[in-house]
Symmetry: D2
Subunit: 447 residues, 4 copies
């Protein structure tokens, strides 16, 4: 019985299959076993448990050998998420080795360290796809460095930009977020083997050494203070994913806007067979972009929960860790899905320069008031130039007359216009500032 959006037949394709494989039940169980194996191995190396026991433990650490239905039944009876796993694992290993499983550790050690492994695996997907998306955006930025487009602020035409400049903005943002997310891995991807309250009490004075060895075996950091009420590393990692989600949401929103029937400057990839509506045959919806927006909202809603779940009482607090632990796979899967989806979105994107040119005309030239103001400002002052252009623009809004006509007719402004090249000032391609240079910088940045 599939419950929940990750598995559901009509929504499962929203989510990265690779990321889901990392967080699937069996993969989680396997990650737990991998941590137990590393623990046993480390303890054998240090002389805390017999090497033969570690070998048996390693040989039997295969999630496929476990009976998940029995695990569920036993979990319900014990109300403990891991003791039933230990019992099956002990049975698989046989009485000799069984006693050395989980030596000196507590459940949360296993869970937290396994989560670090799983987060790390999904993190690799996130970075891989972020880099792919950045590379595509960079290429598009180079190609469209000089393609003029209306710059819009607050819903109104403002000044011309180039599409490459817009892409440079996306690129810069994603590049910073990549660095941000990367900077949060060292504190999150750690092994914790502190035992019941984090003091290594059951490790006979060798706890730090055991944990360091486990960390080395698993390629993780070693938690300086492995107390169980600390989860800032995970929370900071999740907190770094939220702005990334917001950036993807922003980009996807922009695509939805640029693909609008009236705008039509950009279209996301379309494959014949993609259907927009059960009833309106013509609909070519920006489905990928829309999906990404929904996913981003989901991720943003989970990050605060993980931060709230940092507030843990005393030396351990299942109330908070339940809430945080169940949200970590979600943000990890959703972030990987956002990165994957972003690749899909930008890879297939088509750009219509002629539509951009057409839309640039929508304000009847007013999109260049600033250009005119800056030209006239040295003659009559910046403030006065602004006021006169304001007057004319408002008159145009009232009367609908042509902007150029109004300019030329204005008693105060007209004399000054005579000395300037109005035609050139009203040509968007002459007022693009350093847009192309910024597109170039994006295009040539390393990915």
């Amino acid at each position: 019985m599939a419950v929940g959006m990750y598995d559901s037949f009509f929504t499962r394709h929203w989510f990265s299959a690779e990321a889901k494989a990392i967080w699937a039940d069996t993969a989680t169980l396997q990650a737990w076993l991998d941590v137990e194996v590393a623990l046993a191995r480390a303890q054998a190396d240090i002389g805390m448990i017999p090497p033969a026991a570690a070998d048996v433990i390693a040989a039997n650490a295969d999630a496929r050998a476990f009976d998940l239905d029995k695990l569920t039944a036993a979990t319900i009876k014990t109300l403990h998420p891991f003791v039933p796993v230990l019992h099956q694992f002990e049975a698989l290993c046989g009485p000799e080795a069984a006693g050395y499983i989980h030596w000196g550790a507590t459940t949360q050690n296993i869970f937290d360290t396994a989560v670090a492994l799983q987060l790390r695996a999904a993190h690799a997907l996130i970075i891989r796809d972020l880099d792919r998306a950045r590379a595509t955006i960079a290429r598009l930025a180079r190609e469209t460095r000089d393609v003029p487009q209306a710059g819009r602020t607050h819903g109104q035409h403002a000044l011309p930009i180039t599409f490459g400049f817009k892409l440079a903005g996306w690129h810069a943002e994603l590049t910073r977020e990549r660095a941000h997310i990367e900077s949060r891995t060292a504190d999150a991807f750690v092994a914790s083997m502190g035992g019941a309250v984090g003091t290594f009490a059951a490790m006979n004075g060798r706890g730090r050494a055991v944990q360091d060895a486990v960390a080395t075996l698993l390629g993780l950091g070693s938690n300086p203070v492995p107390n169980r009420s600390t989860s800032d590393g995970f929370a900071a990692y999740a907190s770094a994913l939220a702005p990334f989600a917001a950036t993807v949401e922003k980009i996807a929103n922009e695509v939805v806007f640029l693909q609008r029937t009236e705008i039509a400057e950009v279209e996301e990839r379309f494959d014949f067979g993609k259907v927009g509506s059960s009833t309106m045959a013509h609909k070519r919806n920006p489905s990928h972009a829309l999906n990404l927006i929904g996913l981003a909202k989901m991720l943003r809603s989970r990050a605060p929960l993980i931060v709230e779940a940092m507030v843990r009482t005393n030396e351990g607090d299942a109330a908070a860790s339940n809430a945080g632990d169940s949200a970590l796979p979600e943000v990890s899967i959703i972030a990987a899905s956002l990165a994957e989806g972003l690749v899909r979105l930008v890879d297939g994107m088509t750009v219509d320069a002629s539509a951009m040119a057409r839309n640039l005309e929508a304000s009847g030239g007013m999109i260049l008031t600033e250009a005119i103001m800056m030209e006239i400002a040295p003659l009559i002052g910046r403030h006065r130039a602004h006021d006169l252009l304001y007057e004319i623009a408002m008159e145009r809004a009232r009367t609908g007359e042509a902007f150029e006509t109004l300019l030329e007719r204005h008693s105060v402004l007209a004399p000054h216009l005579a000395r300037i090249d109005l035609k050139r000032l009203l040509d968007p391609s002459h007022y693009l500032g350093e847009a192309a240079a910024m597109a170039d910088a994006a295009a040539s940045s390393p990915h």
Copy 2:
């Protein structure tokens, strides 16, 4: 491959099985089909489609006949969540009737109306269990109406209460929340059949009649303006669940506190076999209570997402509806799980009156400073009485001397104490105000 906490072998027991059955994939598909059947039936009754077609549609509306894997594959190809369902349904119904499926409707009509059916079914569970929990709390309130307990504010002993009074507070809060949630059903449990943009355009002038008939068939309300960018009814329902979650969280927190090793006034149900720790054999954790706290946090984190998803552009906006639609089953399942878990929590709760009595001594009598102040206030003024008792209490904190001794030794206070019955004033059972009466009111309220 199970992904996500609802299905996972080690967390699925956190969630109401009944509620999950309502929201399982096949149940969702069945709900969609049920809505299509109601639509066809209504249109046949009105004369819009042939009655025979409606019969065929009804006869084939069985989710078990669908191939879910093929649905998934087709969903990925079309990027549409319902067109593949329609295609299979059409094949099942045969060419004659197929053309009359989904007549004049749009996908979101089916989804929204089905969600109303599913929410309603889960709502019944919520109310059922809320009422069970309220009944148990009422019974406990009666039983413990006179059991004195330390009242604590800001972590410090304040004044005595009775445990029944504390329960009366829980009861009052849950009773108001029941009413609140109920008050949000009429706007949420509605049928919407407005078609592609909500105008009933494809219904040939009979749209309102069709929708009213569908609503009647399904026992739902009929949406006054079935436009597709409106979801306030669902959002208000979800918003009403969040304070309920917070109340359960508060109650569960209180149980965790009262069960603390040092307090030990209350214990949640314990069955032999319940394990607290993989390493500390003695642990009797308040597992149910802890689970409820985690669930409540999850629910609280989803409600704002559903409200945010109300912000939809134009006549329909999948970006927002994806986010909202995927969170509705979650809040519904979690709320039902909270209600179910609350029953479990209060049903098995044991109360230790002697521990309560013992803890009442912890402040060495200072828990009754107010009683003394109110007695002396008429003699020396309320303000001055407060000041003198403050002085003494702070001295006690500094020196550790007995409160009573300090009272009797105080030059200003002592003379007045001579005229009052200090022993009686320091007996918690004489300063319980109207605690018992409030417990009685809870006990006798209808459930």
Copy 3:
């Protein structure tokens, strides 16, 4: 020194001056005093304190007589928010009456009851302005009941609507939210006089009677269980404001969209002198709409905090009540500002029917594929009709040829078209469904 957006010289105009007057420091102090007066009056009536004392208390309950700087200084010293107020109040009342101030009450009783008074006052503003906005929207709905406009879903033209229909959707949503908010007042606007732990311990058995009398004097309800760790009434009220905020955000978003340079179907009120940019003289930004969106986001962010703050430990918990208490004035002020701003937004809104007509052409007739499909469906089946129209629409997207030409040229479809009135089918004004009727219903609903 003004800190914070409510008072700041460049943002204070975002917020309702009326609502801020209700929540200003002096008004809060006055509300506290009003509650103390009601308490004294009630106790005098019941014979608990001398009537003369109540008279003196009432006569001196004037916030203007208090020295706020001294209050601040004393608050810092005592770390108590109300004891300094009591001290000044006692000094103002003189020794005789001073002892009877605050008799049997605790600080939070005064604060919570005062908050109820302030919330109620701001609530009246919210409802007043909601009704004004609803009335204007209703009027506009009548006026534009038949004005065709492109219906857009997922950013793409879908089917025609009328602008009056869009307004009917806003109206329906706001009307439900008005009822929702109103339904949450009875539990929120209550008097609580339970004293230190809520048991009325210091009221000598007359606590319930005192609280009922206070409630009557203040026109509030009487809290059934006035324990201090309960705040569901306030939280439910705040939770009801969040969906309202989301609806205003949705409406404002829609106005921003409809006012876009390329769309230009609607414009919010513009007064000469309103400036869009310090540098682009022509900008006519939808400033009111943009402000409302920002405000709505602010409100939405505060509501979950108030729900979280319901989770209070034991009989009182300042950690949570501080967080909740400081957010209640915010949601109250912001909600009143949203209602006020909504009036401003819809009152001055101008509608350009010709722009709507022009934009309806943007899809080259494809906005009516459903109309054609429904007409042909009885001839060739709904599914097949959808497929053929899909083919043609996709061909148009590829080639840019006219939709009508492609229709007429299609070998399978063309024969059927011969039998139908294609011109009529491609006229948006013939496919508006029951849009006008829904506009009428909004227009004639009571406000």
Copy 4:
């Protein structure tokens, strides 16, 4: 008229006065002017405007010379937050220089760059106080490295720790958060001078050079792509403050718990005159800790708003920037208040080792079941040892008999116990693991 918690007479002391001074209205205005001065200076150096104009601009850039009431009035008329400031500034500078103010810039450039300056100033406070708190915690960790205390998990006694170990956990967390916050400054503390749409269009090809020079003058970074719809730098900074807030909340929660009447192991600083209640004279509430919890919740509630406000449309979007801009001062002030309050909390904290010792007895020795299990495990297996101890612990819970007695009486266990030193095993000071070493590491870490 003070509205809002930062200025209110009864809550203003919750907030850092230093941080509020940075964000007060006049300081904000001054920050804007400072940015305008840097812009003018940079442009004069580059030869874009006359040096004399830059001198006049610099000489008049004094917020105290502005009429704030007039600014407010003009803001209401223009609905623009900065044009009125420009007008007054122009008047102050005189006609000659006025024309060169704000040359080529747009309002948001000034605002964003000023916010960077203000955030940086408040950031210095946060880091200063975080370091003070860390130093105090480190000192306390050294002092209490060996002080045994009950380790508690899930509300139940688990294993002994030392108080120094608990502090080491706080220290490690705060140290990571310091690094996290610091790592987010480079992207947040930047100058942006891209003009109306971010292309430097009005800077005549010298925009990048101007922005770099402004950045150098102000000691900020230079924004690579200064488009106006990007705010990830601020959002990432705010996102880094949220986990810090959660850690302070956790610490403060722990203090509230440890100060509880029944626990009494720790007390926050108390000064005579601090009042706990208007009615209960004895109350010594953990007021500072409670305040910190409330503040932390407030901060946590604002961070997601700032992330949501990253989602901006096109080249600029006041709806989002209003919401984000108004929340940035809030998180900055609250974070500084949390850091300041944390210093106050830990500086005055008193530790009662004897209370800790007393509470360690609360479980009657069961807190050491793991120690016994680990000792016996080599003899009878870990699993079986766990089972036997479980049996005994549950029997004790049922019967209340002494744990030691039950151990010695158990037919299976008793023989093994004979061979071990049970007294020693039941002494908490022998089962502290590496707690002291971790306290030492905290104590010796650099601050």
